[in-house]
């Protein structure tokens, strides 16, 4: 699981171009990490590629924090 967390952190840091230190479990993608509309789309695409998964857009709407992303992705693996 920690591997998943590390990979999520790497993807988020790369797509949103933020300091990995700011990417905590509680960090909200939009409000705390500054994900704009297009970046949110890129983030989902990057998660899909990184983990070789398909994230349903509607279901992915509930993923608002890094921690939630970890739960969501882990459930798909």
């Amino acid at each position: 699981m920690s591997n998943v967390a590390e990979r999520i952190k790497k993807v988020v840091a790369h797509v949103l171009k933020v300091d990995p230190g700011r990417i905590t479990e509680d960090a909200r993608f939009v409000e705390d990490l500054g994900a704009e509309s297009i970046q949110s789309v890129e983030l989902v695409a990057a998660f899909e590629e990184e983990f070789d998964i398909e994230m349903d857009e509607e279901a992915a709407l509930s993923v608002k924090t890094v921690g939630k992303a970890k739960e969501f992705i882990s459930a798909l693996l």
Partner: protein
Amino acid sequence: MEKPLEMEQIRTLEDRDCTSSDWSKVYVAEPFDPTRFRDVSFDGKVRIGDLSGMVCDMAGLEKPCGIFHASLMDVTIGNHVRIHNVGVQISRYDIADGVCIENIGTMQTLPGATFGNGVEVRVLNEAGGREIILFNELTSQTAYLMCLHRYRPKMIEHLTSMIREYVESMRNDRGQVGTGATICATPEITNVNIGARVVVNGVNRLVNGTILSEPEVVTTIGAGVVAKNFIVGEGSTITDGVILDRVFVGQGCEIGKQFSAENSLFFANCEAFHGEAVSIFAGPYTVTHHKSTLLIAGLFSFYNAGSGTNQSNHMYKLGPCHEGKVMRGSKTGSFAYMMWPCVVGPFSVVLGKHTSTFDTGDYPFSHLEARPDGKCNLLPGLHLTTVGTVRDGIKWPKRDRRKGKKKRDLITFDVFSPYVVGKMIKAGDTLGELLEKTDKNIQEVSVGGAIVRRLLLRTARKYYRNGIEMYLLDKIVQRIEKALDSKNTKPESFFQSDPHAVYSNEWIDLGGLLMAQDRLFTLQDEIANGTIRTIEELSRAIQAIHASYAPDEWIWIRAACLKVFGIDLDRATKQDMVGILENLAKIKSKFLNLVIADAEKEFGEFSHCGFGFDGSSGEAMEDFRRVRGTYEDHFFVQEMKRQVQDVQKHIETLLTRLNECDL
């Protein structure tokens, strides 16, 4: 019936300061009331109707009919007309009943006038080559053929000849003012036909034009307008310092607030304020509201220009010869700039300063954002589920201001259609191929000169797939419902197509009218080979295409269904239909929920920025709630949520009915 004046009547008129170079050419209706004349100079042949009674002026005040302080030359005046204070003269006009003309300068028709008909307008390509000939019956469809299909020279030749014939039929040495028109405070009107109930008030100058109208639809030309070489359609309003030269304004348009336009066409329901247009083809619902917005050398429709939107058509090489096409439903953000040539696909959003050429015509609902180097970053399909797209689709038909009997431009309002969904299918295939071919180490790929992040190829393809499926399933379910309503229990007839329907894989947006490409080819051939010989015949042919939209759409859907789902509807079983219904319930709900989620962003934390000025953070929330309302209470959100519930209920009902049906 007018009669020549009797001697006693002439003496009475002269006592009232009236003069004539030849009284024998002045005819008046009985009963003749000389008190209805004062200080009138008659020249040439003048015929005057019954001037008894009252007529309403510009402000709606009732005033006595009659002719006061005016010079008339070769004029026919109907019954119950008021003409008051003509500074120079009215010459060679036929003025119908109930007209009120006050405080004007010159109103004249010069020999051989065509009233704006026949004026050539250099549309789309400012350097020329796509000229449109103005005429009263010009439609968005005719103009599109004339402007865009120059590669069919025989068709253009015949079209030109038909229009020229029409123009000749308009040629007249006398102008017309229609019944009930009011004309006030206008220094110059030369060679302008003015339709019934038209209002011309405080206009600076009108030269060589026609103002069309219908009895129940008022067309208004207002304060400070200068218009030369123009035709204005029924129900339009042009006011407040607008400057027009070589311009066609269609039905239900609003142009005002010092907007200026030259060599441009505005079709049904366009709105243009403050800015400038040069050589544009503004198809139906083209809207520009802000200062510093220049629309130049472009094709637009269902378009909204952000403030400061601008394009260049001039590379300082061979002149202003570049042109751009912004397909229906698109928007440009504030200060969006495009260096022509470019093609923007339908329902797309363009942001930033684009200094490189791109063609995203086959990528509907796209997001086009300029990079710092001026190249275009493209995210295909992003705007399929944005609130703005859905709102636009709802609002356009509601905002049709054409209230008369005759709607000249034929418009297909549907957001999803074979035209757009066909492009989505093509785009999805291309994106899929790119996805397969592109190495994972490659960050970006080029699509039509725009750049797409490789990572997003799959996302974009998914967007399109959802949109395609929703459209097709929706249409198929409509057929199932129709069959169930008609108690049809023969599954093979559920999905039958009309024997007269025309199938084309490709669809065309002909100036707002969507059609199968083969319909266009037939139309072009019929014009080129002389089967269609007059403007009336052309109009009827285009109306027939408009009427064929639904059957042509259905035959296209049947073919698309086979391609996309692998389902041959002729062989669809009850079980297939159940599957289709269940899938639609899922996919439509998902679509609506994504739209709702997009709306929710408008209520997010960042949207509170700037609220609650001088107060606490709690007060910021309260300020936001009182000004913007809450997400839960917003009418659009509620409407979308209601639709989610309705879809589920509706599908459940249909499933029950289908299951009960003995197929």
